[in-house]
């Protein structure tokens, strides 16, 4: 994107400087999405105002007083479940962090074991392929029966939803270690420990990160599902469910915006991490 704008500007006869230059270079990157989002919001607002749908328009975030307060004051805490959206989100995030970390640790470990051991791979692969097809919501009742408690059950749902891409990608990454690298290790008679840390992990790292990135999205999806089904725990999922029970449609919209924004941020965070750690490959 940037290169194409650069080349366009260098080709033009007049060469603007300062703010006009900045605008010239960035308008191609910013204008289309701006129009897209703006158009969408306009259409939504119009259809709500014209009564085509029961769903409130985006402007209701500002027009509804309760929602406006939630929008502008995300940090209040009146105790119990009556908190600002930031605090709700933090509750959800901490659960995700726990479940996701667990999934990453177990997923990478099992993935490496499966990737290295063909027999183990053949034994477990059908099971993994089957389990990864089970939707997060379907895990909720099983989790509740298993743990008899909302908090660990929610974490389990996140774990069990997000582990598969990590596991499967790690296993693939280990399987895909080029024979050349293995030969180098063999010829140098590397110890297992050194092979693991100096060859296996660095070589599989791009695959592992791909798995981690897919999983973070899934984990975030799962938490909302889990909280909606398991009310009574503070969290963004519960917030939406609660708003729905009270028919606060504009609150739901605000909650959804928070979910989307946090999901996007998490994904960007993983990309950033990937670029930092697995660079040069």
């Amino acid at each position: 994107m940037t290169t194409s704008t650069n080349s366009t500007s260098s080709r033009s006869d007049r060469s603007p400087t300062g703010l006009p230059l900045w605008w010239k270079q960035t308008r191609k990157a910013f204008l289309p999405p701006l129009f897209g989002i703006g158009g969408f919001l306009l259409f939504w607002q119009l259809s709500a105002t014209l009564g085509l749908t029961k769903l409130a328009g985006p402007l209701s975030l500002f027009t509804e007083e309760r929602t406006r307060e939630l929008l502008f004051y995300p940090f209040f805490d009146r105790g119990g479940l009556d908190k600002g959206l930031f605090l709700h989100a933090m509750n959800s995030l901490s659960r995700v962090a726990l479940g996701y970390t667990l999934a990453a640790v177990v997923g990478i470990a099992v993935g490496i074991a499966v990737g290295l051991n063909k027999a183990l791979d053949r034994a477990l692969d059908p099971l993994f392929q089957f389990l990864r097809m089970v939707a997060p919501l379907a895990w909720v009742p099983i989790a509740l029966v298993l743990f008899q408690n909302n908090q660990p059950a929610a974490i389990f749902v996140i774990f069990v939803t997000s582990i598969w891409p990590i596991l499967i990608n790690t296993a693939e990454g280990v399987r895909q270690i080029p024979q050349d690298y293995r030969n180098v290790a063999l010829v140098l008679q590397m110890s297992n420990r050194n092979f693991f840390t100096k060859v296996l992990i660095p070589s599989a790292l791009p695959y592992i990160f791909t798995g981690l990135r897919i999983s973070i999205g899934l984990a975030w999806l799962a938490i909302i599902a889990a909280e909606i089904v398991m009310p009574g725990t503070p969290g963004i999922g519960f917030f939406i469910w609660d708003a729905y029970q009270n028919s606060y449609v504009s609150d739901i919209i605000l909650g959804v915006i928070w979910i989307g924004a946090i999901g996007l941020l998490l994904d960007r965070l993983m990309v950033w991490l990937q670029n930092r750690i697995a660079a040069g490959q």
Partner: protein, 661 residues
């Protein structure tokens, strides 16, 4: 020098789907001395990389053992370091880190400072100091391979194994790296084994070149000693007389392998038609004016006329191709030098004696001895001048070219030299070279002269690089030139085909002998399928291309020209024995009886109504006038003053038996 690697009776097979196995290598035996540089060369899929991997221990043989320094190789180790074709650098590590990884792993007991010094030394050795912090992705292919070489050498292996190390590089980089590698190998007296596809690379770098035949079941097809002196320079090494013969040896081997592969790929059903046992024949020949009867028989339809309607002419670049083609059965019959049937029947080709039958002499004369023009410029105009020249220029190498040890050229040249008190083995060096190479060597001065047939000798004269010092008419007028040869077992299996083939070629010989056809012959042979030369240099009259003369240069047909002659083959046996090519066969009467298919010739001639040609020739007498008594060949041999030590031995041929299947 002590042996470092011993490869003993290695066999390797790979499991295929089901219970089948693919035999990649069998019976590989090789000793590698300390400090030696060995190349493994062969076509793709011949198992050369597999062999290398087995030396490295990355792969284990299914039979036999590999010993490195007296120890059986059971697993890979840093003492047998490998430089892989695709470099195998770890992409997340810098140049320095890649080398450090190996050094740290292999020499953990060395203090850190010393390890660092080793690493830095080797980075500097391959000239990568400024790039030491770069990652492989930032380097060119040549630089990456230099890192791989530095990494391999840094851990001080006993043995360096290189798997097509320069295969993926451009020619310039490859050349530079080859020189670098050779320099490093020389400085550190490294022992190395390299797999390569590149003939020049193999010749340039190696002490010995191991040539592997095609799989399945590849074996060592030959080992070449590279006698180029070290240190070698890329530019000067190509001027060494051995360079091109080594190169052409390898290329011959590879082409031969390719031809065998192509031959095996085709179905080979024996087509029997028209009452003949086999009508689909592969006929070998070497591009010479004397191949005219074959070309004519094909072009004028003489083969089809006699029922052989699927004859294919197979052009070989050297007589060796003809020998090998008969040995491995890829050729049914061939145009061959008149000495070849006796030579092969007596086992001169190195294998077990292979009885070869000749039913037809296809040509006589047409040869000559050429000396380089530069000798004429120094006053050498005849053989006596040449002898004086040899005496006064003793320190120079005097090479004379021949096309094959069993060819009449070799025997005539040797006879001629020896009669003029020049020992053909001591005073000069006779070398087997392909004709085209002879011209080039004559031109650049590495060859004093040669004895070959038309049109090559005429070309040397026409190009102005040589002059004919003695024509064959002055040595032995009417000497046999080329004959038709088939394996005895082939002749017994396909007797009617043999007669039909003899008839077709005898008729073609008759056609070739007619002066009014010579223009047409020149035209025909100038085609790329045959000689691929301008027709002006191919002539059949003694005086040259002017067309008016009807005195023939070659004798293709006539009284006593074509009938296989026992006394001539006997003379050839004496000469081959004289120069140590074969022992003189005590059972020479039996051998001559089996070589000369006089009956086949007589039948063919009679059926063509050409009874007149079957008269026998008179006694053999060469220019020196010494008579050849066919009843006392050993006396004849003992009477000559110049000869090598020769033995008289019974050559066991076994009972004649037809080709199976």
């Amino acid at each position: 020098m002590t042996t470092l690697v011993q490869i003993q009776e290695i066999e390797k097979s790979f499991p295929l789907s089901g219970s089948d196995t693919y035999l990649a290598l069998k019976g590989i035996d090789l000793q590698i001395r300390k400090g030696e540089f060995i190349s493994l060369i062969g076509h793709s899929g011949c198992g050369k990389s597999t062999l290398l991997n087995m030396i490295a221990g990355l792969d284990l043989p299914t039979g036999g053992t590999v010993l490195v320094d007296g120890e059986v190789v059971r697993r890979p180790g840093p003492d047998k370091m490998v430089v892989f074709q695709n470099y195998s650098l770890l992409p997340w590590l810098s140049v320095r880190e890649n080398i450090a990884l190996a050094v740290d792993e292999v020499m953990p007991d060395l203090p850190k400072a010393e390890r660092d010094a080793v690493i830095d030394d080797h980075i500097a050795m391959v000239g990568l100091g400024p790039a030491s912090h770069k990652r492989p992705a930032e380097l060119s292919g040549g630089m990456r391979q230099r890192v791989a070489i530095a990494r391999a050498l840094a851990i001080k292996p006993k043995l360096l194994l290189l798997d097509e190390p320069f295969g993926a590089l451009d020619a310039l980089t490859r050349g530079n790296l080859q020189e670098k590698l050779m320099q490093i190998c020389n400085e550190h007296a490294l022992t190395a084994v390299m797999v390569t596809h590149d003939v020049d690379e193999a010749v340039f770098l190696s002490d010995r070149i191991v040539m592997l035949t095609n799989g399945p079941g590849s074996v060592i097809g030959g080992i070449l000693e590279v006698d180029l002196p070290r240190p070698r320079q890329r530019l000067s090494v190509v001027h060494h007389p051995s360079y091109y013969s080594l190169r052409s040896e390898i290329i011959y081997f590879l082409n031969r392998q390719k031809r065998v592969k192509q031959w095996q790929a085709k179905p080979h059903k024996v087509l029997a038609r028209h009452g003949l046992e086999k009508v689909n024949l592969d006929l070998g020949f070497v591009p010479l004016a004397a191949c005219a009867p074959l070309a004519v028989a094909q072009a004028k339809g003489f083969f089809s006329k006699h029922g052989l309607d699927a004859v294919q002419l197979v052009r070989e670049t050297s007589w060796r191709g003809v020998t090998d083609g008969l040995v491995d059965g890829t050729l049914d019959a061939a145009l061959m030098p008149s000495g070849m049937p006796a030579w092969m029947t007596a086992g001169g080709h190195g294998g077990p004696p292979l009885p070869v039958v000749s039913s037809l002499t296809l040509s006589r004369n047409g040869n000559g001895i050429t000396l380089a023009r530069r000798l004429a410029d120094q006053g050498v105009h005849n053989v006596d001048d040449y002898r004086r020249y040899l005496l006064s220029h003793q320190r120079e190498p005097h090479r004379l070219g021949i096309v094959h040890p069993a060819s009449m050229h070799n025997l005539l040249l040797r006879y001629w030299l020896a009669s003029h008190a020049i020992d053909p083995d001591h005073d000069v060096h006779l070398q087997t070279i392909p004709p085209a190479q002879m011209l080039a060597d004559l031109k650049d001065g590495s060859l004093d002269g040669f004895c070959i047939g038309a049109p090559w000798l005429d070309r040397a004269q026409a190009d102005g690089h040589g002059f004919t010092v003695a024509g064959d008419l002055a040595i032995w007028p009417g000497h046999p030139g080329k004959v038709l040869g088939v394996r005895e077992d082939w002749a017994l299996a396909y007797p009617n085909t043999h007669i039909a083939l003899t008839k077709a070629l005898l008729e073609a010989c008759q056609y070739c002998a007619e002066p009014s056809h010579w223009g047409e012959l020149s035209e025909l042979l100038s085609d790329r399928r045959y000689l691929g030369m301008k027709k002006e240099v191919i002539w059949f009259s003694e005086t040259g291309a002017d067309g008016s003369s009807t005195v023939p240069h070659h004798l293709f047909f006539g009284k006593g020209v074509n009938r296989p002659s026992r006394s001539e083959h006997l003379w050839i046996l004496t000469q081959l024995a004289r120069w140590g090519e074969i022992p003189f066969p005590r059972n020479y009467v039996e051998i001559l009886e089996r070589i000369c298919a006089v009956g086949v010739f007589s039948t063919a001639a009679r059926e063509l109504g050409l009874d007149a040609v079957s008269y026998q020739r008179g006694p053999i007498e060469l220019f020196d006038g010494r008579p050849f008594d066919v009843d006392h060949p050993i006396d004849y041999l003992n009477a000559v003053s110049v000869h090598r030590d020769f033995s008289v031995a019974e050559i066991a041929l076994g009972a004649p038996r037809p080709l199976a299947g």
